[in-house]
Structure formats: structure tokens, C-alpha cells
Amino acid sequence: MAIQTEIQNKLDKRAPIINDFAFSVATKNGSGSQTSNNVLVMSLFRMGIPVNGKNLFPSNIKGLPTWYTIRASKEGYTARKEITEIVVAYNNDTAPEDVMNLPPGGVCITTDKIARIIRRRDDISYYVIPVAKLMREATVPSAFRKLVENMTYVGAVAQLFDIPLDLIYQVLLDNFRGREKPAKMNHDVIKLAYDWTAENIVKSDPYRFEHMDGTQGKIMMTGNDAGALGAVFGGVNVVAWYPITPSTSFVDGIIGFRNLRQTEDGENTIAIVQAEDELAAAGIITGAGWAGARSLTSTSGPGISLMAEFAGLAYFAEIPTVFWNITRMGPSTGLPTRTSQGDLLFTHFLGHGDSRQICLLPGNLKEAFEFGWRSFDIAEALQSPVFVISDLDLGMNNWLSDPFDYPDEAIDRGKRLDETALRAFIDDHGKWGRYMDVDGDGIPYRTVPGTAHPFAAYFARGTGHDEMATYSERSDDWMENMQRLRLKMDTARAMLPQPIIDAGREADIGIITFGTNDEAIREARDWLANEGIETNYLRVLALPLAPSVSDFIDAHKSVFVIENNFDGQLTQLIRLEHPENISHVRPLALGDGLPMTPSWIYQNLKEQEG
């Protein structure tokens, strides 16, 4: 107590800081902290405070350090903050560094055991919780003791920063699906710590939470769940997958929502096959797409490498199917639990030879949901595989969003001929060939197996073929086919979701990005604007690039392409498609495994701009 009073005296008397600060919760992986952190995030959400929780976790089941960052922002900013004002230092291995990372005036909440080993700073507040003592007092069966120990920091945080206990109890109840016993067991520990903190700790920091109405009508969800829900509303029929972080929870999501598509008799309209590897998963969805079903896989990192051969086949045989790539750090095994945008070029060009894949690039929950269903319409309309490139940050973290819009367009099966349509086609054109381009858009008409017409059958193949799908090694057949595929890609540019452009400002600087950097860019642009540096902004939603990207580049003196990969892959793609001199387009590429922060963008853009 003496030490705390002393520190308190040293700290400035600052004005209260309400609903605008960030936490970092440092624990050991597998220690049960996920529930504690979830309870904190959901409690803030229910207090109406815009909040975002990001799990920065190791590739490990138990024991390695994990950090969970929680950011509350009354302005509604949800990007990760580089520096958090508060740390819950519950991991003795990382506590010394965690404390050093605090800004002056920060807060450290730790255990009495860890408090003994960390070097004291005199410019922060320390709140030391006697965890062992509290757990001795708690009436928790010994089997659960370790798992609920982390609830002590929930209690301390609730007391110190004003989160109502009854609200926490409601969140616990929902977390345990209404089961009172585990909810109460956790709540008892929270209350013990809450009461102990009230009696024994003198608050010496300015941070507080207060009810507000910033989350009214909003939802919280992970991007993988949002994409999965979208796929269920998009009519997915066959899902094949192989478990891999961070894409696994995407299929878990489909399993969870599968009941929305069951018949009254409980029969399924979605088959879900856990394949023996990613090759088989890609083969299953290719076979299903060829046979006329809507099929999907989700994968990450090494999985997408293994799918390359089927991706090339599906592209060349023109088979609609959907691949979700929830990107993590590569190359190779890389950092399996860290986010990245490093698969952009690989995915876009997946397959040997001259292949170019359609890619959709969601940046938030609503887009994850929308591309979840729309990807199937695009795949069938273009008769092509579609790759939705998400990332670990969107896929596995809880994001705040407006509720999703119900699909505003009917399901589009594309140019698919049944018996009657095939008959009419042959009447009109004299014959039908699988790869005949009668509309001049590069998109042929297809039949699916089971079509009862003597000329419906064709032979799908990855080998050279003519417009009748007959094997051919003739150069002219080959060239005609490739030219048609290129034409189809050009058709796609206009058909795909168009970039989101905010170019209403008088600005020399243009920012281009894709995916989840959006939130950090929004905040960084506000900071820059506050200093009089105006920027315009374009976020790419699909590949191949839309024509408006060129116009945006031409309209600005200086263009920064902000991306979370090491090589500046979107920049490379833009340069590839713009052979003219565009030296004013420069990458701001990071790729450090973490979600991008506004401060990094702000600093680097200013530095580069000079």
C-alpha cells in the first residue's frame, strides 16, 4: 500500500479518460483466458461502447505467451493500437517486457507473485491482485481452479474501470449457453476479485468506462463466421476442407449454420467433407462444381499451395467453385497464427502456365458476408473458380458491424443450359460446344451431367481443347482459347465488385489498399487531415483490377499503396497492369504478422511524403 500511494502521488492528476483507451491482456496460451477476454469484450459491447478485440496468439496449445488487445473507442475506431495504456500482466514470462511497453501514465494490473519479479517504473500505476489468496477463498472445485483463475483480472478490471457486475453475469450466462452453474462459478471469482479491489486498491489512473449508445443495433462476430453465414445464404451445397489455422473456424461456422438450410425432415442441403488433405478438398469442390453444385473450400498458407494444381484445372476447364484463403504469414509454415496479406499475387496467379484467378477482397464483416454468397453467383456467371482472400485478423477476431443486408439479388446460375435451353441453343446456333463464345464476352454456355439430351455431354479436361471440348494440340485452337479466357477476364473487371472510392477531397495524395487495413487507414487519414494533410482513398475489392484504379492513380500526384505484406504485392500488380511510368505509385508495405495500426501508416506516409 505504501508503494502504491507513493506512485499515486507521482502521477499527474489528469482529467478522466472515458471509453477511449486500450488494454493488452498478457496470459499463457491455454490458460482459459479466452473466456475472460471474451467476457470483457462482450460486456463493453453491451455497455454500448464501440470495441474491438484482437487475439495475438502463438502457434501452440498451451504454455506460450498470448496477448489479447481490447480497444474501446467512443469515436468508433476499431483498428489495433500499437501502444495500449493498460496491461493485464498475468504471464510471468512476458511481464517484465509488457510493463516496459506501457506509456507513461499507463496501468499495470498483475498478480502478487509476478509483482515480485518485475522492475518497478515510477510513472505508471500498479494494481497487484493476490490471486493465490483469492483462489483459496473461492469455492471452486479444484479441477476448474486453474481455468477460472483468470477471472480475477476480470473482477479487478470491472471494479477499476466501472463495468457493472450484473452485466458481466449476463454475458457469462450467454457464454455458457444459459447454464447457470459454470456462469455462477466464474462470477463468484469475479465478484471476489471485484470486492477485494474495491476494499484494497486506491485507483490512481484516469481511465473509465461509461455506458453510451455506440453499439445500438450493431453485431459482433468473426469474419470467418460472417463468410460462412454468407455461404449458407449463397446456396453452398458441397464443402470440402482440411483443418488449418486460421481457416478452420470458417468451416466450423458452416457446420454451425448448416441447420438454417435443413429441410423440415432434418435432411441436409449442404454436404461437408473433411478431406485427407487440401489436394483432395480442392478436387472434391472441383468435381462438385463440374457436376452443377455450389461448392466451397476454405484454407490457409500451405493449403493454398497444395490446391494450386486443381486451381489451374478449374480455371482452364472453366469450372465454378469457391476457395476462401484466410491468409496467414508465409512462406512455408511461416507464422501460422499471425495475420498477413502475403498471398495476393500467389492466389491471383494460382496455377502453372498463364492462369489468372478471380479474387474477392473483403475488408470487413459485411463484405465477408456479402462475398460469402455473391462469390457463388460470380463463379457461376463467369464459369470460373473464385478466390475470396480474407486474413487471420478478419477471420478469427471479433469485429463490430452493422447487421448484414439480405442478398439483394436472386441466385444466378449463369449460362447453364438444361434440356430445353440446350434445344433452343442448338436451334439458334446450329450446334452447341462447351467453349463456344456466342455472346462475345468470353463466357461460354455449359451443361451439367444428368442433362437428358443426346448432345449435352462434353469432356472436361485440363489438356488443350477446341470450342467443342475436343482434345486438340493445334496452336490455333490453343491461342483462340487463351484469347477467349483473356476476354472473359476483361468481362470480369466490370462485373466484379467495384473499388470503394472516397475521392471527394482536394488532395494530391491518394491511398490505395485492400482488405483489413481499412480501419487503420480511416483513422490515420483523420489524423493526417487534422494536420491539414488531405488524402483521397480507394479500396480494391476484386482482382483483376477495375479500370477505376487507373483513373485514381492518374488523378493524384502521389499514390501510396498500403498493404500488409513484405513485398508490396498490390503495388507490383498495379505496376504490371500499368506499363506506363507510374513512379508516383509507392508501396507502404509492412507484413510484420500483426494487424496494421494507424500510427504506422501515419508515420510512414508522412516520412515518405517528406
Binding site: 457436376a291 447487421p403 448484414f404 451431367p449 469432356f459
Partner: protein, 348 residues
């Protein structure tokens, strides 16, 4: 005389595909011919059949039979996964898939095992010649130990027995045959196409260009001189009326008949030859294959049969309507369903 037609009024020629581009005399062409005959004899509707293959000489053959069926010449060793997806997409289809010993025994071993494990209903033909033809004569994993080939010398590895691998993986229909034995191939195909589960046919099909020396167990001369059928096979259609006493015989003596009832009511009638093999006995199936390999006996016929497990689509409890033909109302839940999910997430 009017041309002979089948029950659909179709001529046999209407079941043909494009002309073969394989080497003249290739065993694979005989198998394609038997597939044409099978579909003709059984009066199958071609639009209800899909043909799928991997890569290799054997995998080219689906272009050469059933021109009225959709076909997919997929990737090397990956035919089983494509079949899995297609057969989930449309459970009304039947599937004839062709692979080779390289396509299945080497690059495709994983998918071979797993498609059997899932019990996807289809005819899985392995046209087995012990050699890679398209890349000009490398040993495959089924090549004989000690065999000598011109460019690659002596094979020091023991062969993989794909029929044995199928039995071990839990396959409910496993046969071995010889492309030179047209009658047996025909009977086995007619049985396999009725089987509502994965039916594996390991057919020794000589490569006349790279592996047809008398010393090779995958050659014509060897097959013709050494094939020992386990039984004579006859397929009795579901409407066949047969003597009651014949099918009740369980423990039979040489010369006896064993009738295996199939799912659709048809019977596989096995007339036993000089051995005691009962294909309904898994232990015997494994023994006959191991003995054949050990003693270099070319045993052919129905090696193993059991009542199939539920198919993958049944395990998945799919609707009866093929997924590929579902209507929008079965593919997109109503707006109220989305609102319900959103409401739950909104607990403010």
C-alpha cells in the same frame, strides 16, 4: 436384318466414344470395349453416367467409350476426389472411373484409400500394366520385384497389390481380372456397376509397348498362360427366377454354385473352380491375394464382396433431390432466418 438394339432401342455403336489413340493392341482398349458392351447390354442411359479419370494412358480412355456421357479427365492421382464431389453434387448419377497403376498405386494412393473409406458409390477401374507408358517405360509401384526394363534396369522394390490395399481399406467390392479375359471382365463390370459403394476392379491390362515380355506378370503371354480364375461368374438380373436350393448353399463343395445377392436384387453367381475361395470371407480374400503374390499365381475373379456400408451421401443425410438441382428456396433461407441470426448477435 435390322441391326440389333438394346432395351432402349439403341445400337451398340451408339455407346462408343471417339476413336482410341492408344497403341494398337493396348489392353486398355479391350476394357473400353467391355464398358461399351456392359452399358449396351444393361441398357444404361448415358446421360445418367459420368466418366472420370486421372492422368496416364488408362486415364485417356474415358474419351473412347460412352460418348453420350459427361466425362472429366482430371489430375494425376486425383480422380477419387473429383468423383467424390461429383457424386455428392448429384446422387442420381452412376460413375465409371478409370485409373492406372501409377495413377492409383503411386501418386494417388492417398485418395484411393480415402475414397474407399468414405464409400463413394462408383466403379473404380485400375488398368494395371506395371509401367508408366506416357513417360516411356518407368516402373510403377505394381511392377514385379526383380523385373528388368530396358532403360531403367532392375526393379528392386516389392510390388504393391492394389486389390489387397482395397480390401484392407474396407472396400466392399474388390475384383481382379485380366483384360484378355473378356467374359470375366464383362461379368465383373455388370456386377460392379450395380454395387452401391466403391467397387474396385484391378484389371491386369498389358502395355504392348513397354511391358509385354513373357517374363513380366503384366504381359499378354503371361496372362494367357497363367490366369487362374477363382470361379466362373455369371450375373443374374433382378428378374431372374432361380432355384431356391442354389442360393441357400453356404458351405459348398467343388463344382457348387454360390449366389451373392446384390442390393438391387440381382445375383452374382459364382461357379467354383479348383479352389475354396468364398468372396464373402474377408480373411479368405486377404489370404488368396497374399498367396497369389507369394507364389506368383495369377488368380482372378471376385476377390471380396460384402453388403455395402451407407454411401457418403447417406452418411451426410442429404436430401433426395440432387444438390445440383435444388431450387432457390432450398438454397437460400428466408430473410427472417438472417434477421434471427442478427438479432441474437445484437443482444445490446
Amino acid at each position: 436384318m435390322p441391326p440389333r438394339v438394346n432395351q432402349l432401342g439403341l445400337k451398340r455403336t451408339e455407346y462408343r466414344g471417339k476413336p482410341s489413340t492408344l497403341c494398337p493392341g493396348c489392353g486398355h482398349d479391350s476394357i473400353s470395349n467391355q464398358l461399351i458392351s456392359m452399358a449396351y447390354e444393361l441398357g444404361l442411359e448415358q446421360h445418367k453416367i459420368i466418366k472420370v479419370s486421372g492422368i496416364g494412358c488408362s486415364s485417356k480412355t474415358p474419351a473412347y467409350f460412352l460418348g453420350g456421357s459427361h466425362g472429366f479427365n482430371a489430375l494425376h492421382g486425383r480422380m477419387p476426389s473429383v468423383v467424390t464431389g461429383a457424386m455428392l453434387a448429384n446422387t442420381d448419377l452412376a460413375c465409371i472411373a478409370v485409373s492406372g497403376d501409377g495413377d492409383t498405386g503411386s501418386i494417388g494412393m492417398g485418395q484411393f484409400k480415402h475414397v474407399i473409406r468414405r464409400n463413394v458409390p462408383f466403379v473404380y477401374i485400375i488398368e494395371n500394366n506395371g509401367v508408366y507408358g506416357l513417360t516411356k517405360g518407368q516402373f510403377s509401384a505394381t511392377a514385379d520385384e526383380g523385373q528388368f526394363l530396358k532403360y531403367y534396369g532392375t526393379n528392386h522394390m516389392p510390388p504393391i497389390d492394389l486389390a489387397l490395399e482395397a480390401v484392407i481399406a474396407g472396400c466392399t467390392f474388390v475384383a481382379r481380372s485380366f483384360s484378355g479375359d473378356a467374359k470375366q471382365v464383362q461379368a465383373l463390370l455388370q456386377a460392379a456397376v450395380r454395387h452401391p459403394g466403391t467397387a474396385v476392379l484391378d484389371i491386369i491390362s498389358p502395355c504392348v509397348t513397354f511391358n509385354n515380355a513373357e517374363t513380366s506378370t503384366k504381359s499378354y503371354p503371361y496372362g494367357k498362360d497363367n490366369e487362374i480364375p477363382l470361379h466362373e461368374i455369371q450375373i443374374l438380373a433382378p428378374d431372374y427366377v432361380h432355384a431356391q436350393d442354389e442360393i441357400t448353399i453356404e458351405d459348398y463343395d467343388e463344382g457348387d454354385i454360390i449366389d451373392v445377392e446384390m442390393h438391387d436384387g440381382a445375383f452374382i453367381r459364382l461357379k467354383k473352380l479348383e479352389n475354396d475361395h468364398d468372396p464373402r470371407n474377408r480373411r479368405m480374400a486377404i489370404d488368396v491375394l497374399e498367396r497369389s503374390m507369394r507364389e506368383q499365381i495369377f488368380s482372378t475373379g471376385l476377390i471380396y464382396y460384402e453388403e455395402p456400408r451407407p454411401t457418403l451421401a447417406q452418411t451426410e443425410e442429404l436430401v433426395e433431390t440432387p444438390l445440383a438441382h435444388l431450387r432457390e428456396k432450398d438454397m437460400r433461407p428466408p430473410k427472417s432466418a438472417l434477421d434471427g441470426v442478427m438479432q441474437k448477435l445484437m443482444l445490446g
